[in-house]
């Protein structure tokens, strides 16, 4: 539902109704004709507000849900769900989920073992490339997450040098679903973009979802 079209459509219909009443009182048939065409316009705008949707959204939603179930199953079976380490590696640009710390260089994409430690390495190169906007991480994340992807209403970045806390403020409905479903694409996106911006590998310290705010803490691995 798109409120701006809903309100616009309602206003157009209201104006059309007022014009129609005015024409009936004054007997101006031209005004009645114009008000009827405005009514058609209002109905179309109102319907747009009520039913507008991008055609592939539902398909993508189903696809993401199925894919997440598969990844969740793999994580669950390999004991990587909960209490595991999450690391973003710039070589191969991947996210590595493991039970114990593993070296980025020893891992490759997919499921594997390093010294009997299971890991799952997910590719992050599908994250679109963005030109670096602004000189700080906050400006960059705000530009992409808030203005381009509309993931949240605002971004806060605390800390610096070795550790950062990133707060995504006012996260929307569908995005909340993504955050709650492993492997949590929003976490991958935030850490992937931060790693690219900082030019370092990152390791997740903690993540929290407090009401509509998503907080990610990570440290820079040098």
């Amino acid at each position: 539902m798109y409120f701006k079209y809903l309100i616009s459509g309602s206003l157009i219909i209201a104006v059309s109704a007022v014009a129609a009443i005015y024409s009936l009182i004054t007997g101006l048939e031209v005004v009645l004709g114009a008000s009827l065409t405005t009514l058609v316009l209002g109905i179309v705008v109102l319907t747009t507000g009520l039913t507008y949707g991008e055609p592939l959204t539902e398909l993508y939603r189903t696809y993401v849900r199925d894919l997440s179930r598969l990844v969740s199953k793999v994580l669950e079976d390999s004991g990587l769900l909960g209490g595991s380490r999450f690391r973003v590696c710039l070589n191969d640009f991947k996210a590595v989920i493991s039970t114990k710390p593993v070296s980025c260089l020893e891992t490759s994409l997919g499921f594997g073992l390093v010294n009997d430690t299971p890991y799952l390495a997910l590719p992050l190169d599908s994250i679109p490339r963005f030109e670096v906007v602004g000189s700080d991480l906050r400006g960059y994340l705000s530009e992409v997450l808030t203005r381009k992807f509309r993931v949240c209403r605002g971004v806060n970045v605390l800390g610096g040098e070795d550790g950062y806390t990133i707060e995504l403020l006012g996260v929307g409905g569908d995005v909340l679903e993504l955050i709650k479903t492993p492997p949590n694409y929003i976490k991958l996106l935030v850490l992937g973009m931060s790693a690219k911006f900082l030019g370092n590998d990152l390791e997740l310290v903690s993540e929290d979802l407090i009401s509509n705010n998503y907080v990610v803490k990570f440290r820079v691995v040098k």
Binding site: G33, L36, V40, L41, I43, V44, T47
Partner: protein, 79 residues
């Protein structure tokens, strides 16, 4: 994208209304019929709009209205 579609539709409706006012048309049903015709032509040509917005109810409402206008005009002629 959808803004552009709605603006174009609005422009077409406004042009048609102004044209009818200019030629001195007084019958309200003529205005309505032309607006409905523009709606169907526009949504047929610009199928992307129909693809994104569910217009079935509007289609039904407008085609019924249009049929009633035509039926009334035919009745007037035959009477």
């Amino acid at each position: 994208m959808i803004e552009g579609d709605l603006i174009l539709f609005t422009v077409l409706v406004v042009i048609a209304t102004l044209a009818l006012i200019y030629v001195g048309e007084l019958r309200p049903d003529a205005y309505l019929a032309v607006a409905i015709l523009i709606y169907f032509i526009y949504t047929s040509v610009n199928y992307g709009f129909r693809f994104r917005v569910k217009l079935k109810v509007v289609d039904l409402l407008l085609i019924t209205t249009f049929s009633l206008i035509v039926a009334y005009r035919v009745y007037e002629v035959l009477k």
